[in-house]
Amino acid sequence: MRSSKTAKAIAVLLALLMLISTGVCAVNTAEDGGDTEKTTMDQVKEYLYSEDYHTYIEERNAQNWTDAKGAGVVVKAANDYTFVPDPDYPEQTVEVLTDPEKGSVLHMPEAGMTSWTVNIPETGYYVVCIEYMPYETQSINTSNIKREFFIDGKAPFSESYYFEFTRRFVDNYNADFKRDDGTQGFQLDKNGNEKKPTKSQVYRWSTSYFRDSQGYELQPLKFALTKGEHTITLNATMNDLILSEIRIEAPAKLYTYEEYLAAHGTKDASASANAPKVQAETPTATSDLTIYALNDRTSAITEPQHASNQLLNTIGDSKWQTFGQWIEWTIPGSEITEDGYYYIVPRFKQSIREGLYVSRVLYINGEVPFENCYRIQFNYSDDWQCTPLSDGEQSLKFWFEAGKDYTIKMEVGYGNMSDTLRQIGDCINDMNSIYQSIIRITGPNPDEFTSYGFAEVIYDTIVLMRKTQLKITDIAEQFKKILGGKSASDIATLEKIAYLLQKMSSKESEIAKNLDNLKVNTGYLGTWVMNTKLQALNVDYISLQPASKTEKEMPKGTAGFWKSLGFEVSAFFASFFTDYNSLGSLDDNRDVEPVEVWISTSREEAQVMRELIDNTCPVKVNLKLVAAGTLLPATLAGDGPDISLAMGQTEVINYAIRSAVEPLYIEADGDNNLYSDYLQVCADRFSDQALVGLRLENPDSLGSYIYYGMPERLGFSMLFYRKDIFAELDLEVPQTWDDLYDIVPTLQINYRKIGFPSSLGGLMMLMYQRDEDIYSDIDGDGVLDGMRINIDSRKSLECFEELVTLFQTFKFPRAYDLATYFRMGEMPIAVADYLTYNQFTIYATELRGLWEFTLLPGTVVRDDNGDAVYGEDGKLMINSNAPCSVSATVLMRDKNGRSEELRKNCWEYMKWWTGAEAQSTYAKQYEAIVGMAAKFNTANTEALRNMSWTNQERKNLEAQFAHLKGTPEFPGGYIITRYVDFAFLNCYNNNANATDSLLDQIQYINNELSRKRKEFGLITYEDYKEQNQGEHPEWFK
């Protein structure tokens, strides 16, 4: 017991120390105003040790803080600001603009800190809101605007690192398209299907409070401010913003429902009053480009409905499911004929959260009318429903006045569930830290029979276990209340976890035994929270129904039996005459020969592509969705397309050497090429390394290239690491290999693993960082010729040895499930494809802000004496090259030849598709299909930049983008992966000598290269040797 007391004392001491150091850190920041000397890890620590909002408020409530009363302060953004640019983006600076409506306003760039001094009139809680407008830039930027908010140079709580402000998009309706009932309709394609209108962004002033971007707090966040002078700071993390003013206000008191009713009289609108209705698919505005009208065929009475044509008749669904997304509709005043109370009755379908409800926040004319509107619930049913808006307990009435226009805005929120979700989120964090502290002692595979003495070593953790257990039991109780006894499986999971924690905390010997269980359950809970946070809702229309109508008079959610039957039967017969697979285009002009394009991804992606083509493509295109693997037989039969999309570089060259792909540019022909601007276009758009995998040496003019294809996607690896674990173990992110070797022992002592690609992937990375190529250049003309492999050079063998050492000596794992290992912190550092970003963002939401990707560890550049080289800026030169590979848009060979015009159009198409505009739009739409966090690895540099990265992410990505090295493709190249893998596995499995293993395989690789070259009539090493023996004896020693 004494020892545990000592432990406690030490823990308290440590905590104090930490607090002080954080404080010191914060003070430093304030003094230096964003000192550049501060290392990244210090920032991370500052973030990690900041408390969350809930604790912040609880602490202050305990100190008797109360809401401020009175007027608050309005800060004009353009007055008396100080701006500190981001050292990484020194060119980004604020400017004062003049707005016709607001006078002087401040344009804040996407990086840098802007501060103001405010004088707070009285001590108390305040809420903060800004009046802002998105900044219209050249690039199409549609993601939310993100800012960090500091008071006196310090974030008051961790949520203030993530304030988000939405944009506003409207559909470009065309008044010419009317439906039969006179409402707004859509353009029809040649098959009679309705086409989505395009959307454009509206730049207008809006007001937004600082709210919890995770959605755990329903109302605006409160900041505790003392009377007197304070500095407030907005730090840009994503996107430009025009700011008119910041208002620091006393928190508004919302009506309760009873107060609302009392304030608006007692008169229900009479049953005979007009019941206005708006079709949901024609909203006034939406928060995202990706919320658009959809087609629903599941019900006969979805309005409008057609047996064969696809009419856009609903909106929402999975496009409208993440926190903060909103849709706004307008109810024209002319249709409201009588003052009084109305029910707002939407026809909706919520068939995803089984047993649960989804929530929305309701705004009428931009304001939440009363408190219950934060908690509007839509219950589960597998069919359409038509019930008045309710808060789960009662249907709510709203006051509308005749002749007045109303806007109704619904925003995704978590309603009654928000606090529970927050608590579960906290529990996951607790369980993670419990797991972390246990494996620090035992490793991930503890021995059941060892007595680790947990009670002495990690007493706090055991206490935490007990606390978490109580919390979870409590949450399970709340949940029972929320669900009203339904869907017991969710509760059972919670109870199981509570029991597990109770067992582990009460008996020491159970800890090691149940560690794995704990891990699995933490993961399960995380996934559950992630799923529960998706609040998809599909809406058909919204109507106002006079409150005095009886239930019978209300519209129905489901169609009657005969109506359904009629619809299904006619749809069935119509299905014989409708081609649902054609991606209908608008253009029916038969004079122009269309460019035939084949895409073999998903149907959704093809549809996005079709839309993009219809809207912006300069040439006529016939887009076909084909099954993967159709290209080869079609080409064989001479029936292939003009252009094939997203072909991997190996395949491009495979086709090219068999003349199935047209060369786009032959260097030796210079300006005589048909597409003479090819090189220029590529240089403007792509990394120079992107073309490396798409070219072959010209056999007729050695030393020059023939190019095939335009890069479309570019993949490469980056370093992912867990900030929290690095901070906890007091490690810095490795910039070089030496740094990495320095931290390996610390990581391993703490039972952490390092993820690194084995075999050829790892070897190439090491070789490219030492400027060594995979293939040799036998004829010495500066162009790799693929006659021989170069992995038997002295440097390459060293690289292979180093790689093998990592796995043999340092025991890096060869096979691992990165997502799980990374999430649980077992593998806090890993080299992986940068698109793993998507997986981590979506899969491990609880890790927000706790990880990032950055430049790969590099190799220090050394001169001939072995001394490190320093660059002009005095910094150590580090080569952090990552191997990259591309997939390309290619022009297929047409055996019958193409007309001059078609050839030109093909080129126009390729230029259009790989251009920044098409790629950016496609990336946006792709996000809409796959989910908001999904990024797409476009090869177009500008389009990649334009995606919704935060500054930091973009900075890291650009750094790696500058350190890429492409791998050339040669006939027979497929053999290399295979034999290098054999060599590697031989070392890994049998502890064989690295050099010997690799050298054993070299001859097989070289034989295959020669054999393949012979097949294509290219000069082989053997021939070359014979021809040039006399001239260059030194090559053949």
Binding site: P444, R658, P813, R814, Y816, Y974, R978, N989
Partner: protein, 319 residues
Amino acid sequence: MSQNTAVKERKAKPVARKDMSKAQWTLKEMKKHKAGYIMIAPFFILFFVFTVVPVFLSMILSFTSFNLLEWPKFIGLDNYIRLFLDDDIFLTAIQNTLIFAVVTGPVSYLLSLFVAWFINELPPKMRAFVTLIFYAPSIAGSMYQIFGIFFSSDRYGYVNGFLIEYNFITEPIQFFQNASYVMPLCIVVALWTSLGTTFLSFIAGLQIVDNSLYEAGALDGVKNRWQELWYITLPAMKEQLMFGAVMSITGSFGFGGIVTALAGFPSVDYCAWTIMHHLEDYGGQRFEVGYSSAIATILFLMMIGSNMLIKKLLSKVGQ
């Protein structure tokens, strides 16, 4: 009745076979049985166009160099010469294929037979249930993936997890990436999945054996179940035995997909590389269809050969 006699009479009327050429005779016979020919025509046309023609095409292609995208070039026997004299990996492939064929073919064949024999003794309802259990692995197409999870190379794979937990090993074994484990594991999986059609046809076969035969056998002095099996049951179900044998052989010679799914393509050091892999490698990855046709031809001949051998062996059943 009178019509029938008429047919019989016409048939009885001697038409000397030796008076006609073979073609004439065939034509005449075909005309006579035209209803039968019409009935098998749909299947036969499909079978001929999609199975027989490709086999012959592939044999023709095996004398060419053909890369799928350009017109084939005739190169005589070069492909075969290279295959036998200059392709070490093909020899590995033949060796592995034979190992698979010899181990899994007969073993799974006998296994099927005996399991079917035992199950046949069960009461009907029980029998249906147990049959389903044994047959299930081969209905569910990629059930063998369960072995991939069992023997995962990750330290949390079941086997690795178990071995690490009880301190047999400290680092996970790369089961499917280690030449010493791949082949045995693949054989186990092959056996497990092979209780498929063969087994089912045996059960069917066992049930058509006429019970009166057993009675007759008992009277004639069959002394035990083995004799019963050998002299009565097996001869009575020779067709099923033949069918099962053909299925086993094609199955074991064409074995490859499961190895690819478990051990990757190629398996480490080509340790479980079969002729099918070799064929896929050249046909799919290296675009050398001429060469892979030569491989296919060899495989085809091997299968034909072993089928003949089996036929011979089966004719000994019951003697």
